[in-house]
Symmetry: C2
Subunit: 336 residues, 2 copies
């Protein structure tokens, strides 16, 4: 096709925050699809806190990205060549497209999507963050109407959806986010009952005021001190959902374990880890319900789109760990 | 009755390990029972790690012992005077008798027991430790035949019963205990498949060898580094039962939180706290089954009885936190 594919490969395993030396920027010709294969022109890439974990060696819930491999990323794009009967040229697809401009794929894990909706929505509410919020809250958190749900990372891709679903389910919802601007977004745009600014407030004290009956469900995206503050305010029988720990992903010394974990005993509470991929066979059920809530105006999505092309990937990723994004962080790779 | 009751009252809230200054030794006349009351002569007192928590101020699963109050303790004894129709003079009873020689009670929480069994058994396998092991393992740990169950404090009152029940249920059982002698007891007397000596072995490495397929159920009595080592070796879908954290009860700086808690996410595992009192209405069911296992020779009890009288309570309690007891630590208060 004579096209050139730019991509980022993992050059080294980072210590702490990823640096430019951890990446290799490569240009190579776009290959012609073989039998059963297709080529997707990447339009948008999803930037996720979990990416940091994929860059580490060692056992995790998913194979680490190998040194020299293209960095793993979810994305949405358009089919420009296909020898796979499931996909036609012109189709829009979402799936693991990786940090590059063109993705040669055998179709595994790719799903066609309806371009009537803005494509970035397939990386936020109707993508992994939405699935994570839906199953993490409803399957593991199991909130009941009238209960108090607290969510950290409340202005982020997952947290904002968790809180909105909890509101739909009749709960009192308190967010935790960094900065006045994010907190205003959380209450005004996403409709949470309250939002605690962990940068200017003592979270434990603020929870005493905003969740006076204790925390029935705590959905944790951040770990660290915020997790400890939430543990200190659990209600009897509370469920803590461990979805992420963004405050700890770049720790160069030991991870800060939750010193207040004995609150689980005092309150007969549980703390459970969740990985969204386990729910893959139920994504359609979640997608249907989330899309219905969106079209009914009960659920709002917010994407923070950086129009920088693949070249901007390393810098854009760092925004996640500096708490600079609001809503789902998306990298725009190509206009069309 | 002209008898004198010696008792220990809480004089101060300890910082770190309790010291003599935290106790007041008091002698007072034994009161005559009023209408509905009875007097129990205490024979044996139960010494439990949880006692340390009862001495602290602040929210817990049970009201703290107040300054100036008799120290709370479970015990077994004999009724010597009664104006309560449920109890006759000569009956043996177990319940909260507190750290004293005679207990004046309205009968609340007291149960008559059969003196055909040695009385200390009602403080171990057929008492709180047995109930804790039974419900913690079976209700929260939910082991399946062939799965691997790991128990810390394996030579202790709860841990030794947890492991034996897990063996009865067809599991592979690995204990963790301190010292060669305790480890030998755990494998030889209690029939565990293996026992790791945390004092001489690296627990994480030893778990790789003794639990090669990972840990399906981890029953934690100790917290600290041992909890972290077990978290590092969880199997997919593992259940961690938080029953106690004896390594942390006397910490004067902050409790050491489990740095490896993100293993809950990687392994889709859960960590759940349990308080035995929640199962009070099911004690009879557990007692029946535990007694059957005992009489069938499948379940062995071991009491570490200190014949020191009430006077020896403060020193004897410290043995728990120094890891000096083997099996259920019991203080003998009176011969008969």
């Amino acid at each position: 096709m004579g096209r050139t594919n730019h991509q980022y490969r993992l050059a080294a395993r980072p210590v702490g925050l990823p640096t430019p030396a951890d990446w290799e920027y490569v240009a190579e010709p776009v290959a012609e699809p073989g039998d059963g294969e297709l080529v997707v022109k990447v339009r948008y890439l999803s930037l996720d806190p979990a990416m940091r974990g994929w860059m580490n060696e060692g056992k995790s819930y998913i194979r680490p990205v190998g040194i020299g491999e293209v960095m793993r990323a979810g994305g949405v794009g358009q089919v420009i060549a296909s020898r796979n009967p499931r996909f036609a040229v012109g189709d829009y697809v979402s799936g693991t497209l990786n940090v590059q401009e063109y993705c040669l794929s055998d179709g595994t894990g790719l799903t066609t999507v309806d371009p009537a909706l803005p494509l970035p929505v397939y990386l936020s509410v109707l993508g992994m963050p939405g699935m994570t919020a839906y199953f993490g809250l409803l399957d593991i958190g199991r909130p009941e109407p009238g209960q108090t749900v607290v969510v950290s990372g409340a202005a982020g891709a997952v947290g904002s959806v968790v809180g909105q679903i909890a509101k739909i389910k009749g709960c009192r919802v308190v967010g935790i986010a960094g900065g006045e601007q994010k907190c205003r977004l959380v209450t005004e745009r996403f409709g949470f009952d309250a939002c605690i600014d962990y940068k200017s407030q003592d979270v434990r004290t603020a929870l005493r005021e905003t969740a006076p009956d204790g925390v029935d469900v705590y959905f944790d995206n951040v770990g660290g001190e915020v997790l400890d503050a939430a543990l200190a305010r659990l209600a009897r029988g509370a469920r803590v959902v461990i979805c992420g720990a963004i405050s700890q992903y770049n720790a160069t010394d030991q991870v800060r374990g939750p010193a207040n974990y004995m609150s689980l005993l005092i309150n007969r509470a549980s703390m459970t880890g969740m990985v969204v991929f386990d729910y893959a066979d139920r994504y359609p059920e979640a997608t249907t319900e989330l899309a219905e809530w969106m079209s009914a105006g009960k659920l709002r999505s917010l994407e923070d789109i950086v129009d920088g092309g693949v070249r901007a990937f390393p810098d854009t990723l760092l925004r996640l760990f500096k708490g600079e994004n609001t809503g789902k962080l998306v990298l725009k790779v190509a206009d069309e």
